[in-house]
Amino acid sequence: MTATAVLLRRPVGTLAAIVLVLLVLVAIFAPALSPYDPLTQSVMQANLAPSAAHWFGTDQFGRDVFSRVLTGTRSSLLLGTISPAIAAIAGCALGILGGYFGGVTDRVVGRAIDLLLCFPELLLGILVSAALGPGFWELVAALGLAFLPRFARIARASTLSVRREPYIEASLSVGCRHALVIWRHVLPNVSGPIMVVLTLWVATAIRLEATLSFLGLGTQAPAPSWGNIIRDGLNNLFGSPWPIISAGIAISVTVLAFNLFGDAVRDLLDVELDE
């Protein structure tokens, strides 16, 4: 199937991909695209409704909401992609180790995964944020740890099924080292399902980041993030609803785009997932 055919057969996925590219461009060029400085306050301009001058209106401090939402794209996309990526790498390592070597290693890894899996991601995120305090890398750690068991479980399951293949035994019997077998044979088989869940988990990571920022555990004021714009907006409900509405639409569109894109990737790679 040529690239064009793929695109035409999946209009929804293609549209989602276009939206994602646009979002990445917005994140990169946010400073140039923002009509105002996202941090500059102006008491005279507080709580304005959307207008030609301020597309999304202004907040209680007179800051331009459009510029703040644009800038918020950066932390959302950055955190939303880095954290699951780190979780995927660490989770793969753990899951492959457990699934490949079996025995005590696997029992320890399996038990740890089961234990972490019974916690909802948000609760794990809150737990880690509470211990580490706020900050960018602290948030990456919190989200990463929240997703790690989910990747580890998938990596372990895929490794277990590959482990029984005759070619693994063949490689080992001709004297290949375990490291080489894992690199050559196990990793390529694990990477497919991991890639699929990765795109789907990015959507969840962005939603989680917004939630943690909303709870005051993520990006700290005055730096804007979609979550803390909504937090600020709630303290100013009687002033203007526009910051909440705009930031919420930004979150929803981004999460939707990643979800639809993830679905398209899954269909394309034809990976079976037992979610």
């Binding site: 019974c118 909802p120 737990l127 919420g248």
Partner: protein, 310 residues
């Protein structure tokens, strides 16, 4: 049946120990220094030492752990840094509201999600299925705290149908205050439950005994509800525990938005005021609730499916 219950209860004891240990270790082994996180960057070394001493953080880890377990077993959580109130009292005052919200949201989620899933499965590929799919997609996409804020702006602030925040005085008033928070969490939950019900039911509808029921000339309602849905409920019940747990954690944000007391607002307030002993105790209660929900759903599965009994 009693034996199974006893066995599941016994099984959950080590899990319980592991999850509270997880909270203990997370607050101590992660690179963040609790004293520094609690007191801030400007604290003097003396203040930091005093804090560590008061929290028992200056003794070896294994002794801290023993003290932690002993305090837990005797329900001795200490007092809050902020107002010197016994933490047990704070928890006891918050827990019922969080449980009520989670229960109400679960009821809304099941009441909306199961019929929606049945509708989608029985009218597969038709308009109802598409509508149900779009609703579910919306539920997966819109974060619950944003939905809560929107409902607050429109239904409470704009149209004045519901109170903006607080708890309410009398029982009917309290229930009235519970509506918006429960509906917010319930709608998000219904998205998940409807997908789960749909796929479980579709799976069952293809089975032989369902075809037999149709062949006997049974009415559609009887086939779907008596024969198919009862068997489809098992995966739904398993999925329900995941869903209840995500509602439990989602309640943190919802309590904050609607200004409701509860474990979530207690936790966030404690994190903001760096009330370390309250943070630890609150997280322990959350961890215990996680195990309790898993256990309860396990038992529900046993009740639904006699094959799981030993």
């Amino acid at each position: 049946m009693l034996r199974t219950i006893g066995q599941r209860l016994a099984d959950s004891v080590p899990t319980l120990l592991l999850v509270v240990t997880l909270v203990f270790l997370a607050l101590r082994l992660l690179p963040g220094d609790p004293a520094l996180v609690a007191l801030g960057e400007n604290a003097t070394p003396d203040q930091l030492d005093l804090f560590r001493h008061r929290m028992g953080l200056d003794i070896p880890l294994w002794r801290q752990y023993l003290v932690f377990l002993k305090d837990l077993a005797t329900l001795n959580f200490g007092t809050s840094f902020m107002n010197q109130i016994p933490i047990l009292d704070l928890l006891a005052a918050s827990l019922p509201y969080t449980l009520a919200l989670t229960a109400a949201a679960t009821a809304v989620g099941v009441a909306l999600g199961v019929p929606l899933g049945v509708l989608a499965a029985t009218r597969r590929g038709r308009t109802a299925d598409t509508v149900a799919r779009l609703l579910a997609l919306l539920g997966f996409t819109v974060p619950d705290f944003y939905l809560a804020a929107l409902l607050l702006i429109w239904l409470a602030l704009g149209w004045g149908w519901f109170p903006i925040n607080g708890l309410g005085e009398s029982l009917p008033d309290q229930l009235y205050h519970l509506v918006l928070p429960a509906v917010t969490l319930g709608v998000v939950k219904a998205a998940f439950i409807s997908r789960l019900t749909r796929s479980a039911l579709l799976d069952v509808l293809g089975r032989d005994y369902v075809r037999t029921a149709w062949a006997k000339g049974a009415q559609a309602g009887r086939v779907i509800y008596r024969h198919a849905l009862r068997n489809a409920l098992l995966p739904v019940a398993t999925g329900l525990s995941v869903s209840i747990l995500s509602t439990l954690s989602g309640s943190v944000a919802i309590e904050l938005i609607f200004g409701r007391p509860g474990l979530g607002s207690l936790l966030i307030g404690a994190i903001e005021t760096r009330d370390y002993p309250v943070i630890q105790a609150d997280l322990v209660v959350f961890a215990v609730l996680v195990v309790a929900v898993n256990l309860a759903m396990d038992l529900l599965a046993v009740a639904i499916d006699p094959r799981l009994r030993t």
